[in-house]
Symmetry: C2
Subunit: 196 residues, 2 copies
DNA sequence: ACCTGAACACCGTTCAAGT
DNA sequence: ACCTGAACACCGTTCAAGT
């Protein structure tokens, strides 16, 4: 009577997102079932359908929150450490939240079906493009900014998949190696000659 | 009696891989169930366990075949068109077999559990590193070759996820845009000054 | 050896019903 | 409005049995 929750949960949507987020980060996407999420939130297996039309929509909400967090981390990094720090923040986000990052970029979500997801992702990428714009103007600069983004994104993915052998560290801390790899590139179209 | 298959299928393993590959490319990873694969191969839902200990092992076999195909495509491209063609072949492979590429790099497979998978992947990456070696020697060169790989890999992923707006094409064919993006990068450590 | 059918414990989703 | 329990058609995996 006193210890049991209210009949109307009242705050079920955030509770479901919290439970689903924990499942995702601890057990991975495959273990993230609607039924288990409901169980952890203390409701029947059917209650989530009041807040999400299907499993995909729950996943889309998790990914959307992920893009918001990534965008914030990148803007903060850029404010303190400039462009270079922005790229490093991207990689750090991927490595700190591997399952979330995979959900955001793994293609498991029908991106066309989830407008909020697409918008939150686009916002992040526009922030990156704007930060690059002063250095990389004009048509060639736009291609270069895609290359910069691809570089940072690819490095994140390869590290996540443990595809970069530990010998590549050559005694350095991982962050230092990331800096060195990102710094080993120059943009052909850069207005002043600037590092990544 | 004459149209029905033999009791002992005889060639079940390749038949399963073929059916699974078709399922993967047409319906995506989520639709690739062992039971449906068995159905398409014309055997009971249980027969696949004679050839694969579990679903993950079937997926690993598909991914392993994918790495072999990617390696072949890259070597062929390199023989005809050099380093640049190698990178373009990487991107082309990803775009031509999106679901296969996602399986290979999506982190859905417990890579540690599948030795053949890890080896086939490593072979591909060693081929890339060797092709880069003449231009990028020494410690800084090794970081640069990781950057080159990350660039190609990231561009593939972003194109696959349709994260690069169609406006980025600016009227060009996709292949041409890929060439321009890859070509917009210089390696700081390159021995002669060489494009990507 | 290789294949089958029944069984178990899971899914996502739908539906009729309760408060 | 919001939640529940039963039901349906799926899974992966295991087991006892057939040829």
């Amino acid at each position: 009577m006193s210890t049991s929750g209210p009949y109307h949960h009242g705050d079920l949507r955030p509770a479901l997102l919290r439970a689903a987020g924990q499942l995702l980060e601890k057990q991975g996407l495959a273990a993230l079932s609607l039924r288990e999420t409901a169980r952890r939130a203390g409701v029947s297996h059917n209650a989530p359908y009041r807040h999400f039309p299907d499993r995909g929509s729950l996943l889309a909400a998790l990914a959307t929150a992920g893009f918001a967090a990534l965008g914030t981390a990148m803007q903060e990094a850029a404010a303190h450490g400039g462009l270079r720090a922005m790229g490093e923040a991207y990689v750090r986000f991927a490595l700190e939240r591997p399952q979330r990052f995979r959900l955001m970029f793994g293609g498991a979500l029908p991106i066309a079906k989830h407008a909020a997801l697409r918008e939150s992702a686009t916002r992040v990428f526009e922030g990156l493009a704007q930060a690059l714009a002063p250095q990389l103007a004009g048509p060639a600069g736009r291609d270069a900014s895609i290359a910069a983004w691809a570089l940072v994104h690819g490095l994140s993915q390869l590290l996540l998949d443990e595809r970069i052998a530990s010998s590549a560290l050559r005694g350095r801390e991982r962050d230092e190696m990331v800096r060195a790899v990102l710094g080993s590139i120059r943009f052909a179209a850069a207005k002043p000659q600037t590092p990544a």
